[in-house]
């Protein structure tokens, strides 16, 4: 018996080492290769260095920005608007979704109007928003919510409808109040749909806020990117583009954390 087990042990250890190598060393090597290639091509002027500053210069510009007051302001401006937009669109989308999900005739009545409004590219509203709301962060908030609301609403409606019929029957025979029914049956059955739509909304809201910052020129990451370009400082521009990417990754990670937390609470509560 031991004779059979023994030889597999070193093999497994070897396998683990290989996966660590594959999971960390391989991607790291690829990133280093890309950065090295970029550095080489720009230093030798294969890529015009006035458009593409070498990676090392971009990195230096990035470090420089940390001591400038522009960065915390820009980051703060973008992130506060983002959080507001995400919370509003998720809460609003879920609430309206529950309403339309429960009242079938109302949903059928409004469906074509929703289907028409949903694909309207919200950036098309920028000129209107500038005239009526102005050029403050409220405009960006409105645009982001308008875009993300539909992304939450449609899955929310489907989620409400996906509640198990037996569960609904049980709720009825136990004389659940409407609130109890929503809290204990409808919301849990919506969870998987909500998770996906929140993930979509995370990136949609960020895109629209950065767009608003670029087009309307309101303070934030997008504004710093365009300003760096018009000031002829490409290294700083790339530094801010990279920063917006990092912000995107961090935000996605954060949303996933919250999701996991909510899912675990819901899981223990459900059992």
């Amino acid at each position: 018996m031991t004779a059979v087990v023994a030889p597999t042990a070193p093999k497994r250890r070897h396998g683990a080492a290989a996966t660590v190598g594959r999971r960390f060393i391989l991607p790291a090597a690829f990133i280093v290769f890309l950065i090295g290639l970029q550095e080489l091509l720009t230093r030798t002027d294969v890529l015009p260095s006035n458009y593409f500053p070498p990676a090392s210069k971009i990195f230096m510009a990035f470090i420089d920005e940390f001591s400038s007051p522009a960065l915390p302001d820009a980051l703060f401006g973008t992130l506060t608007t983002w959080i507001q937009a995400l919370v509003i669109s998720v809460v609003l989308g879920t609430a309206v979704g529950i309403l339309l999900g429960l009242i079938v005739p109302l949903e059928a009545f409004l469906r074509p109007t929703i289907e028409f409004l949903r694909p309207v590219p919200s950036v098309a509203l920028i000129p209107l928003v500038v005239l009526t709301i102005g050029t403050g962060s409220d405009s960006a908030l409105f645009l982001a919510v308008f875009a993300a609301f539909w992304q939450v609403l449609i899955p929310a409606i489907i989620g409400v409808r996906s509640a198990h019929p037996v569960a609904l029957e049980t709720a009825r025979s136990y004389n659940f109040t409407l609130w109890q029914r929503i809290r204990y049956i409808q919301l849990p059955s919506m969870m998987p749909y909500l998770v996906t739509s929140i993930r979509l909304a995370t990136s949609t809201t960020l895109i629209l806020i950065v767009t608003a910052e670029i087009i309307i020129q309101m303070p934030g990451l997008g504004y710093e990117i365009t300003m760096s370009r018009s000031a002829g400082n490409p290294a700083r521009m790339y530094a801010y583009i990279a920063l917006s990417g990092i912000a995107g990754i961090v935000l996605n990670g954060l949303v996933r954390q919250v999701e996991a937390r909510v899912a675990s609470i819901h899981g223990s509560g459900g059992k």
């Binding site: 594959r22 999971r23 391989l26 991607p27 090597a29 690829f30 990133i31 890309l34 458009y51 079938v104 005739p105 059928a108 009545f109 469906r111 074509p112 109007t113 289907e115 028409f116 409004l117 949903r118 694909p119 309207v120 590219p121 919200s122 950036v123 098309a124 920028i126 000129p127 209107l128 500038v130 005239l131 009526t132 875009a147 979509l200 990136s203 895109i207 629209l208 950065v210 767009t211 670029i214 087009i215 990451l221 997008g222 990117i225 365009t226 760096s228 370009r229 490409p234 521009m237 790339y238 801010y240 583009i241 990279a242 917006s244 990417g245 990092i246 912000a247 995107g248 990754i249 996605n252």
Partner: protein
Amino acid sequence: MSTLTATAKLNAAAKTRKGRLILGTLGAATAVAAWFLISRESDNPYFPSLEVILERAWEYWTTPEGVNNILASLRTLSGGLFLAIILGVVIGLIIGQLAIVEQAVSPTLEFARAIPATALIPFALMLFGVSDQMKIFLIALGCIWPILLSTADGARGIDKTLSASARAFQITGWKFQTYVMLPAVLPRILVGIRIAIPLSLILMVTSEMVGVQQGLGFVITQAQATFQILTMWSGILILGVLGFLLTFIYSLIERRLLRWADPRRDRE
């Protein structure tokens, strides 16, 4: 009692196809009528009446200039989407089938994807200047991610029985890719494209707002800057119709292609 049965009847009606159609038509008519009536007496310069907007839309968007602007927008949109689909599917198939490539590039992809596509507008402007290439580049760059990732997911999760039987019949290489892999992954590709379409519209309008001299985005920003509120509203209306038509036509194409990829669907 009578109200109760009426609600029950309405509920039942909303679940049938015909009932939904009637209710929906009623709803759409109500929405348009409400907009029409509420805005008719409007003296707010920013919210003109629907009647005048429609008149203006008919006047401007049927002139050669208006038609040219719509065509310019459609050209860049289709160019960008086409590039994104081709590149996304090809790269997605490679990444999804070669684990070693996936492991090497996935953190880099994760980062590139996280950059909001519009943040790259200044970068695209620097590369291509104010031009059609800039718009196409931007749309392709923004739309490639959902297609690529969805394709890669599909290719990675391909039915093991399917690929094993293909191997047993010695279907390999190009034949395997076109006759086994592509139809199997098609539903995932289509989902990716469905996510990419609204994104492509956003990128089209935005890129036209930053200096290109034609296209729908250009017309509405120009109209806003010169206080031609009616032209602006008519442009927004056209963009809404365009968005609706694009998603509608795409849903038809999608259904058709899905039936081709998996004829068993018909039996359901």
